[in-house]
Amino acid sequence: MSTGNNFWTTIKKKYSIYLILIALFIVCSLANPNFLSVNNLTNISRQLAVTTILALGATMLIISGMLDLSSGSVLALAGVFAVSAYKTTGSLFIAIIVGILTAVICNIINALMISTFKAPPFIATLAMLTVSRGVALLFTKGQNILQLGHFTVLGQGSIGVIPIPIIFLVVIAVFTWYLLNHTRFGRSLYAVGGNEEASIASGINVHKVKYTAFIINGIFVGLAGVLFMSRVNAGLPNGAINYEFTALTAAIIGGTSFSGGVGTVGGTLAGAFIVGFLDNIMNLTNVDSYMQQIVRGSIIALAVIYDIHTRNRRANSMLGRIADKGATKK
């Protein structure tokens, strides 16, 4: 009996997010017959690709105790620069490089403000959010860039039956998973987020870890910018507004903790798909816009409360064990 209880406790602790995802998947399938169609599931994945790529970058940063509120605006800036480069040169490769470089430069500036000048991450990246959106609007004079021609292949094309944005998402997810779980850098991210002072004491180059995390985030945001503009077939300086919050939502629902040191790629993917399934089923069943906002907000609130609750329980049980050990020693 006790073994059975332990098994379920372990399952609930480790895989609760996936159980929620599966339950939601079943409910959605029953709620609308169109939900399960291959086309619909492909659509959901295609819709989620851009924000999930941002969410993976956000997860990495939050694990290391940082945050990026500028990703949506930097995405728009990188995207319009990439579109502009494509219109000038006709080269998709140059467009991608320009997009990535733009976002990487913005993220290096973020890292400089946060790591070197010790600015709080939310203020520093908030400043970048405003500046990068302003530059995108100034560069385009607030107007959309049109007639992108072959540029759309990245966002709208497929290789076989698999849409290209999903291939990008899978590659980036595998890369992030490997980075977090199988590299020294990944372990350093968790360490820095868990306890920065202890990391410094144990010889981790915290500056290097933070800069690298932002540079990798920049690469993700740049690619997301190219995919986004390609998908909408326009250079939209106003595009991707609030995408940083969608990305953060996916990460939080997926169990990434704002206190740092906690988070997984699988959790973030599950979080992104939970949001995606919910949005999709609400649209399929024609739930009105206002109600959708209420549902989305409630889900975030529940996820955060669940996160606090689990953390407190873990802390309490840890304190209990320490107290027990202390009592035994006496």
Binding site: T130, A234, I308
Partner: protein, 331 residues
Amino acid sequence: MKKTLLSVFSMLLVIPLLAGCGTTSKPATPAPSDTASSQKTYKVAYIARAQSDSFAAWLANSVKDEAQKYPNIKLEVFDGQANDDKENSMIENAITSKYDLVIVQPNSGESQRPYVEKVVNAGIFAITTNARISGIKGASSVDAQPYEQAGVNARAALTQVPQNAKVVVLQGPSGNFHADERRKSWQKEFFDKRPDVKIVGEQIANWNKDEAMKYMEDWVQANDKIDAVISMNDNMAAGALEVVKGNPKYEHMLAYGVDGTAEAMFLIKEGRMTSTCLQNANELAEKLLDSSNKLLTGKEKEINTDIGNPLVNKDNVDQYIEILKKSGTIK
């Protein structure tokens, strides 16, 4: 943990405020010094709704360009950042700074009404535009009619949309005057007269192409057919059309918008979009500066004028593309 969460929530709450601080209301052009020249120079403030809104940006750019033609007018552009409070503060600042004329493109008309009244009471000329705030004694206005912009499309759709059609509706931001008026117009001019038409999806896509795409992708899955997309602006209509591009099932789908953006013009030319109503920012700018000049030089005391609401469809799209090319809007 609690502290962290508290700081995160606080951060989320202050974002809109700080975002605003990030782009302070600096004028787009340098403030003119008190002129000592023989010709009287008038200070005009143009307070835009939000320069991040593509139509508002087009209008602000056109107003700036048009002002160059008037050597007696020094124009400064301010960005209301789609925020009533900010825009109202800017109007108050314009009064304090003793501008000779203030042009207000309201974020939401009624919120700006008392502030425009303050402008008039301070003895300063006021013009409201896109959309006009009507009924302010002493204030002038230059506008397009949002109800009529949608109305010309809706009346054309009465005969174009097939019997028992299934349609989807893309709305602008909730509470936005233009968004609300256009939707009201579609209701009165079309839906009330065509009870056979069924709305199978209706969402707020906030004028955005990417949001409209997402909704349309889901509607395409949820419905066996969609006969028409009724959009409150061209950007969202273009997003919906992007989703069904190349899909033979939607080859004959109708799509309606408002604004007359370059993208909509090309879509109409390609036969993918049915019609739009041109809201010509260049024409608005011409009338705004002409009215400003007449008011400032004493030729008129009050002016209320409108630009046209021309329906653009496949029969006349070439003519409008030419107009936009000449004005530099389409390159």
